[in-house]
């Protein structure tokens, strides 16, 4: 699986559970798919998913959440089709950092769909931790985004739904496809023009 149809980037500060999310998603739902990734690590995962009766290869890129690498994250989401920004509802710091990525994505990668993902839902449900990020703030932020999910990697709650929605959106978004097509047509046109320009050299 050298090429993927969609590129999904996982963003979020350290210890919010990005890697767990990926591992949960990749290992649990389709045990038959892409076993070769599991032994190596969860830095990059590729998986086959179905949407609209078609098979798609989804590549999930994990990123380093440490603040010292923040400047580099831009490289990761270059050309991404979708981005999942993770935060821990029990940690306000993770939420504040989230805003940084939101801004970046909006300005740098306009076409990239952004999803918010609150992790560790099981801890919230059992009451072991207290919610620090107010829900109303989350609601306001997620308005302009493509979706918000509260997931639990431990129980697997909402994990599959999140990824399925992303893929569905990507497929549905014919714009993505169109852009590719248009780009090709455009390129061809340009090609012809350029050929005219350079045919003498």
């Amino acid at each position: 699986m050298s090429r993927c149809d969609f590129k999904i980037v996982l963003l979020g500060s350290e210890h919010v559970g990005k890697t767990s999310l990926v591992i949960r998603f990749v290992n649990c739902r389709f045990n038959s798919g892409t076993p070769y990734q599991n032994t190596i690590g969860a830095a990059f995962c590729a998986k086959q998913m179905q949407s609209h009766d078609r098979e798609f290869n989804v590549g999930i890129w994990d990123t380093a959440g440490s603040e010292r690498y923040e400047a580099m994250t831009r490289m990761y989401y270059r050309g991404a089709h979708a981005a999942i920004i993770c935060y821990d509802p029990a940690s306000l710091a993770s939420w504040t950092r989230l805003r940084h990525w939101l801004q970046e994505l909006r300005t740098v990668e306009e076409d990239c769909k952004v999803y918010l993902c609150g992790t560790k839902k099981d801890l919230l449900d059992t009451g072991t931790v207290q919610r620090e990020v107010p829900e109303d703030i989350i609601a306001t932020y997620s308005q302009g985004l493509h979706g918000h999910f509260l997931t639990s990697s431990k129980t697997g709650e909402n994990v599959d739904e999140l990824f399925q929605k992303i893929v569905d959106d990507c497929v549905k978004d014919l714009k993505v496809m169109k852009i590719v097509e248009e780009a090709r047509v455009q390129l061809q046109k340009e090609d012809n023009e350029k050929n005219k320009n350079y045919c003498y050299c």
């Binding site: 590129k7 990005k18 690590g41 969860a42 830095a43 990123t63 400047a71 350029k194 003498y200 050299c201």
Partner: protein, 739 residues
């Protein structure tokens, strides 16, 4: 020729320059950059044709040398000046050069736009002169053909041709454009070429049924071949002229050298460097990173990066995420200091198929590498979570000091790897030895069990077969003892006489008298011995038969005879098989057997056994019916074995012990000489024990035959193997005497 052209060209340039002052191209701009008085040409990077050629060759040589010996930064003189200082001096020069090349390019474009109309002939000239230089060597085509055949054997041949045409056009186009375009434009153009090819694959009817997997392979294939060729051209796609890739390479390598003190603890990656496995993985990752520079195509470079990153991931432990991967990768890059790192990264970013670079595993790892490089570039005290002063201290440290630890780390890596390899090899050898030992034991046990099995089987067979033989033989023998004794004696006695005649010819007579009396006296006992033989035969074959002794409940001397007779008889069944085919009937005919035949109870087997011994004599006699009488000596010799059984009786007194063990032959020997016993002993051992009896004796017989030709001729006449087998033993003593 070159110069002539050049002159012409420069002359034209001059004319245009003087004709159109509005161009504002300074004459010095048109001169060769080298400063020789010829005019330069932007197509040749501002050199005149000659200088350009030299420059090109020099560049190529340098390229080759650097790629062959690898780490370029290490080859370079260790510049101990701190980065800033070196930059200030070097970057100025570099920038100047860059600016120069940029202006030249612009000038080039300008000139073309201006000259295009005015100098059609000149323009026609240019591509003509360029073509030989840019001609794609046939190896590219051949290589493509070969690989296509191997990898895409199921695709139609048109695809092969078209892809080759595509690559050819692609390469030519890139080369053409490389002089007039900036790198980014060129990169875009290359990407367009890729997309063009993809589109072709989408629309072409040849690909209607092919899977997308194959299509990707095909585009990789095209990319690989086009880029591999372009990669080796200096300054076209790899660190192209007009970019500061080379300078960045140098800066990066210096920077990494300066940061050699950065260890895993600074980067907060969990690495246990004392673990041999860690060292090995690290070394693998480093060697893959170093090899990136050697791979010609972007796909190959990407694959190397991917492999390196996988090793790094393995280094981090099982559930490694990006949080572990990136620091470990940075650490690896710092330790590896790969040559021409920036150039390589730029080359891949610019000219790799963008779609693959953006998505997919290789793209991910490559992005990580880019991140690592950019992190190293912008590394500060904060990014290492350390005190600014300390950081400055480290950075101010001469690179040589830091370099020593770095080099030590690398060499340590190498040493560890070597030791590891040797250890592995030693382990492998030990393993081999173990398996070998196990195999030998296995073999031994197998052999043992096999032996046991065989013994067991033999015993089984022996246990089964004797039962049949016993009852048949015993009764007839008892009856035949009386019936057959008389004819047997008659037969034997005439045979004995020739023996007596023979010895006078060759054997000293002193011994003969001894034999004669024995035989004569034996006549009475002889009958019994024959009976004894028959019983013994049974006994011997059966080996376990104990009922037989009671049936022949005679004295011990009988038993002694039995041993001798038994051996006489044993060879007979052995030699019997070939003998049968030849002359069973003949065997049956002789008088002796006619007489034996009379015995009612005798089984076929018994006959055969008895016959075979005599048969040798008989067959010989029949073959040369008249001869035996004349040259009794050979016959007599042959018949000696027959007499042997009887002789044991005679020789009971002196040779009791020997006879118990020895054959008829031994007896003959006793007759002839004691000296020859050595030979005979060999015979004895061979004769009774194995079927090898004949083969062993045959060579022996041939040897002695050469001296004694008479006997040999007789033997040749007889030709029967049994005869031969019987003959040698008596012959040997003779030869020994002669010699």
């Amino acid at each position: 020729m070159w110069y002539g052209h050049n002159l012409q060209r420069s002359y034209k340039y001059m004319i245009f320059a003087s004709k159109m002052p509005s161009l504002r191209i300074d004459q010095s701009d048109l001169k060769c950059k080298n400063g020789c008085d010829y005019f330069g040409n932007p197509q040749w990077q501002g050199y005149c044709s000659k200088c350009h050629r030299e420059q090109l060759q020099r560049q190529r040589r340098a390229e080759k040398a650097s790629s062959a010996t690898l780490p370029k930064p290490e080859k370079k003189k260790p510049e101990q000046i701190i980065k800033l200082a070196s930059h200030s001096s070097f970057s100025k020069f570099e920038e100047k050069r860059l600016r120069q090349s940029e202006t030249l390019k612009k000038a080039n474009l300008l000139k073309f736009s201006v000259f295009k109309k005015g100098s059609a002939d000149e323009h026609d000239h240019t591509p003509e002169r360029k073509l030989p230089e840019f001609k794609i060597p046939p190896q590219v085509n051949e290589g493509m053909k070969r690989e296509f055949r191997v990898r895409f054997s199921n695709l139609p041949p048109q695809v092969d041709r078209e892809s080759r045409v595509f690559v050819h056009n692609f390469v030519m186009d890139v080369i053409k454009c490389s002089n007039v375009m900036t790198v980014d434009e060129l990169s875009e153009r290359v990407q367009r070429h890729y997309q063009h090819f993809m589109k072709y694959m989408d629309t072409s009817p040849h690909f209607a049924n092919t899977e997308s997997e194959v299509k990707e392979q095909l585009i990789d294939f095209v990319e690989k071949h086009a880029m591999t060729y372009l990669h080796d051209l200096p300054g076209v796609v790899f660190s192209p002229a007009g970019t500061d890739d080379e300078r960045l390479d140098r800066a990066m390598s210096e920077r990494i050298q300066q940061l050699s003190w950065v260890g895993e603890r600074h980067l907060e990656c969990r690495l246990d460097r004392t673990d041999s496995r860690t060292g090995q993985l690290l070394y693998k990752a480093i060697s893959e990173l170093l090899a990136v520079d050697g791979a010609p195509g972007p796909g190959g470079k990407l694959a190397r990066v991917r492999r390196a990153c996988r090793h790094v991931l393995a280094l981090c432990g099982a559930p490694a995420s990006a949080d572990d991967l990136l620091p470990a990768l940075i650490f690896t890059v710092l330790k590896a200091n790969p040559p021409r790192l920036v150039s390589n990264i730029n080359f891949v970013t610019r000219f790799c198929n963008a779609q693959r670079l953006m998505t997919g595993e290789g793209g991910y790892y490559f992005t990580n590498l880019c991140c690592a490089v950019s992190f190293i570039e912008n590394l500060t005290a904060e990014s290492l979570n350390m005190d600014k002063k300390e950081f400055d201290c480290y950075m101010a440290m001469p690179a040589s000091i830091g370099g020593s630890t770095w080099a030590a780390a690398l060499s340590l890596c190498g040493a560890v790897r070597e030791a590891e390899e040797q250890r592995l090899q030693a382990e492998r050898l030990l393993e081999d030895v173990k398996t070998l030992r196990a195999n030998t034991i296995q073999l031994a046990t197998n052999a043992e069990t096999f032996e046991k099995e065989i013994a067991h089987k033999v015993q089984d067979v022996l246990a089964k077969t004797p039962l049949e033989i016993k009852p048949r033989r015993e009764p007839p023998k008892l009856s035949s003892l009386r019936n057959s004794t008389i004819p047997l004696i008659d037969l034997d006695t005439p045979v004995q006489t020739p023996v007596q005649i023979k010895p006078p010819e060759e054997i000293p007579q002193i011994q003969i008298p001894e034999i004669n009396p024995v035989e004569e006296t034996a006549t009475m006992t002889f009958d019994k011995t024959n009976d004894g033989e028959s019983t013994q035969n049974i006994i011997d074959f059966q080996s376990l038969d104990k009922p037989s002794p009671p049936k022949s409940p005679q004295n011990q001397p009988w038993e002694l005879k039995q041993t001798g007779s038994f051996e006489l008889l044993t060879p007979s069944p052995l030699g019997f098989i070939p003998f049968d085919s030849r002359s069973i009937d003949e065997v049956m005919t002789p008088d002796e057997f006619g007489s034996d035949h009379l015995a009612p109870g005798l089984s076929n087997i018994n006959y055969d056994i008895d016959l075979s011994d005599f048969s040798g004599d008989n067959s010989l006699a029949e073959d040369t019916p008249k001869e035996p009488k004349d040259p009794f000596s050979p016959d007599g010799i042959k018949k000696e074995p027959i007499f042997d059984p009887f002789q044991p009786q005679t020789s009971q007194s002196p040779y009791n012990t020997v006879l118990e063990k020895f054959d008829e032959f031994s007896l003959v020997d006793t007759k002839s000489n004691e000296i020859s016993e050595a030979f005979e002993v060999v015979h004895k051992t061979q004769n009774p024990s194995t079927v090898d009896f004949r083969p062993n004796t045959v060579p022996e017989s041939t040897d002695p035959f050469s001296p004694v030709q008479k006997e040999a001729s007789i033997l040749d006449d007889s030709g029967s193997p049994t005869a031969a087998s019987l003959l040698p033993s008596p012959l040997q003593p003779q030869t020994s005497k002669q010699s």
